[in-house]
Amino acid sequence: MTDYDVMCIGGGPAGLAAALAAKENGAERVCILERDKELGGILQQCIHNGFGLHTFNADLTGPEYAQRFIEQVEATDIEIKTDTMVLEITKDKEVFALSPEDGYQKLKAKAIILSMGCRERTRGALAIPGTRPAGIMTAGTAQRMINIDGYMIGKRVVILGSGDIGLIMARRMTLEGAKVLAVAEIMPYSSGLTRNIVQCLDDYRIPLKLQHTVTNIFGKDRLEAVEISEVDDKFNPIPGSEKRYECDTLLLSVGLLPEIELPYALGIELDKRTRGPKVNEAMETNVSGIFACGNVAHVHDLVDYVSKESKKAGFFAAEYAKGLIKTEKAVPTESGVGISYIVPQEIRQSNCKKDLEIYFRVKRVYNGVKVILKIDNKIIKEHKKRHMAPGEMQSIKIRPEDLLNAGSLSIEVQNG
């Protein structure tokens, strides 16, 4: 059996950044297990630009962004095992993995980083009524088929959900010669980035229909039409508002969910709101030595934040492997008024040598408000915010000294 100091499960942006940081922090044997045939994860199919503005101060495509990390990894002695799927991990940090080349393997690591990313919600999960023809798929699957496999999947398209992949695919389908009839969004606001709404919909005059959803699907073999209805404040379709769109393709961009098969099977504690494992300041789960970062921990909107957060996980995984992590009673982070979730879910002060950046999302669109950070009910920080939306992750920094002897920490939105 091979013993690693740090093992990253998943070689997308999270695993790459985490492995590098672990190596930099002195972990000797580091490896990345990747189920695909190459590193980079979903970035490889994101051929649009807009990546790396924070990390590299450059406007890169997804593959370019991934390549910068891959080259850094390849310059080290980090072991890379592609075409390798992890089937099971144990509390003792034994890992059962599978690959055509290396066979069925039992590996062991001192610290494991879960960096498997996320998956897309489907038509089935939404229980959209109607027939079950070809021509309905998630936006990410369509993106892979067009950008990686080189196949076009339809000519007249309706997109349900205005998540970022949906917006990007509206533009992509248009550039490939398809007609995108509309993007329907059940919420009164888009969950995508503002820049994507401008650059992917407005620039191509694709209508964004807020408070609308698909209420029926027609066609026996290939999709023939969908019915879109307006919804009321409780998301119920308004009778009489139905409109039929003749189309051969329906793409879904209706939410991303952390890939939690491995942590679930292991009994790692999950957060109902992020749907990923609960983590502390070190991005460590409640199972000692198992860390989670990137879209496994919570779904991000920018890969730059994934890289940043994963560096932290990699750093602390190396600390763990060296036996340098301090365990002490943790302070939970509480989501106050207007906040849907906070990551990390708890903080141990003595591991915070530098300012700790914590991430959160708001529950709805806010304009002209304040974000308040309280420790032991005392206001520590106040940030004025001109605009906040659930689709745009927020962050706030805390100084280690503010956390000293803290009993509670909360973030809330207040009228500014």
């Binding site: 089937l87 066979g103 798929m137 088929m145 073999d221």
Partner: protein, 486 residues
């Protein structure tokens, strides 16, 4: 020009009845051909139902339904073991919420006794809640049926046909029967493709069985389609109940059930709606909501966000109210197997056994030499132990690549079901045989890979790969084709 193919016996319909009959008849020296109008087996009622192996207390005593249900139930464990089909003898509960419903349970038990159903017992509230702690605490009691179970209906159907084909039976997909003529004492079955000649014809055409019957006989029954809608839930909540849980039956049928599936999901449904069109298998907003609210009465804590998919199935409801399984003195060689709605899945092996008896009355059947009632095992990688996995991989490196990560299906399993008898040709047919694409991501990750494997193994191009039916193309073209990118 049309060709005439000659066989001893033609079976019309590749659902559970037709394939069970093919399997049973393959024990005899007969040349058999099964004609199926769609591009896979089990594509009608047999693929979209609850997958329940019923105890047999529900059917009216003295009916064919009662007789074949009880006999079929008895045959199931052995068949599923020998044909390697996922089956779990989990037992069932009919639960009662009122005193009137408790009375119904007693009547069902009495009827079960007349029907010769073993292992029936009425449980009190405490016992029910002890066994099924997630049930609505207002439950007053339940009828426990020990011999009930769950099966993967489409896999059984496919296994039956594979078994028949291993013994020489032939399968003609996309052959829709248009007419049947009598010619020199034989049947000439005309399809959209070739013609087929045989001395015997078995009509197992599901919702179209009346149409086929009327091609050679005076109309004596009508098949009306009745639709039922379902939710399939994530394996995360697959253990919410341990038994099949029925509510008390009403005039439209057995009502909404909640059950663990043979693959450890949770299935919820069906409602019952009489419809006009024989293949209107869409789901509806109101139908799904009806199913959901009925299910909440059984399991108040059900979480709808755990839904993986929804679907609906069409049951073939005969105007006579019972199964129609018979021959006709005026037309020797023709046998109807019609109106096979619930408990048709349970009854199928018994119906097949009976059809063999009917044929034996008409002709001498000699037993096939080297007949075995078994099927080459399908390796299901995710069910193997660590040791067995390592061994499988040494034999075939294609076990080393997981294609469907939700259900843990390897490339070797997919290649295998493509090349077996009655093999897979489409994305959905791969799903029915291996589970790949049937998990929580619903093929989001694996369908592009399965398209690639299907194209490679079948020697077709990727844009010819179908989702399901014959016109369900997924890919319409290559990108940048005109720029010369290929």
């Amino acid at each position: 020009m049309k060709k005439t193919n000659k066989y001893d016996l033609i079976i019309i319909g590749g659902g559970i009845s037709g394939t069970a009959i093919a399997s049973a008849l393959s024990a005899y020296n007969l040349s058999i051909c099964l004609l199926e109008k769609s591009n896979d087996l089990s594509n009608g009622a047999s693929k979209a139902n609850s997958g329940i192996v019923h105890g047999g207390y529900d059917a009216e005593s003295g009916t064919l339904m009662a007789k074949f249900n009880v006999r079929g139930n008895e045959m199931y464990p052995d068949i599923c073991q020998k044909l390697d089909v996922p089956f779990s003898p989990c037992g069932s509960y009919v639960i009662a919420f009122t005193d009137a419903e408790i009375k119904t349970l007693e009547e069902l038990k009495k009827r079960g006794k007349i029907n010769n159903v073993p292992g029936l017992k009425i449980l009190d509230r405490d016992e029910v809640l002890k066994q099924e702690p997630n049930l609505n605490p207002e439950v007053k009691g339940a009828l426990f049926s020990k011999t009930a179970g769950v099966v993967s209906p489409y896999e059984l159907c496919i296994a039956f046909m594979e078994h028949a084909m291993d013994h020489g039976a032939e399968l003609k997909l996309e052959h829709e029967v248009r007419d049947i003529n009598l010619q020199d004492g034989k049947f000439l079955v005309k399809t959209n493709k070739d013609d087929f000649e045989a001395a015997s014809v078995i009509n197992a055409a599901g919702v179209y069985a009346d149409k086929v019957h009327n091609m050679v006989l005076e109309p004596t029954f009508k098949i009306d389609p009745r639709r039922g809608e379902y939710f399939l839930m994530d394996k995360y909540i697959g253990d919410s109940v341990k038994h099949v849980i029925f509510q008390c039956p009403n005039e439209m049928g057995k009502g909404v059930l909640i059950a663990p599936t043979a693959h450890e999901n949770l299935i919820i449904g069906p409602n019952a709606e009489d419809i006009q069109e024989k293949e209107a298998n869409e789901t509806t907003f109101s139908g799904l909501n009806d199913v959901w609210s009925a299910a909440l009465k059984t399991l108040p804590e059900l979480n709808r966000s755990m839904t993986i998919t929804t679907f609906s199935g069409i049951r073939a409801q005969a105007s006579t109210g019972d199964f129609i399984v018979c021959d006709y003195p005026e037309l020797p060689g023709f046998i109807d197997v019609a109106g096979i709605k619930s408990p048709g899945l349970t009854a199928a092996p018994a119906i097949a056994e009976y059809v063999v008896e009917l044929l034996k009355k008409q002709q001498e059947l000699t037993e096939r030499k080297n007949f075995t009632f078994s099927r080459r095992k399908q390796i299901r990688f995710h069910t193997l132990s660590h040791k067995e996995r390592a061994k499988a991989l040494k034999k075939d490196p294609n076990f080393g690549r997981i294609i469907c990560r939700c259900e843990g299906v390897t490339e070797a399993e997919i290649i295998d079901v493509i090349h077996r008898n009655a093999g897979a040709r489409t994305l959905d047919s791969v799903k029915r045989r291996t589970r790949s694409g049937g998990g929580r991501c619903q093929g989001g990750f694996c369908s592009p890979k399965i398209i690639e494997i299907l194209a490679r193994e079948l020697g077709i191009s990727q844009d010819e790969v179908l989702k399901d039916s014959s016109a369900s193309r997924i890919i319409i073209d290559q990108t940048k084709k005109e720029a010369g990118n290929d």
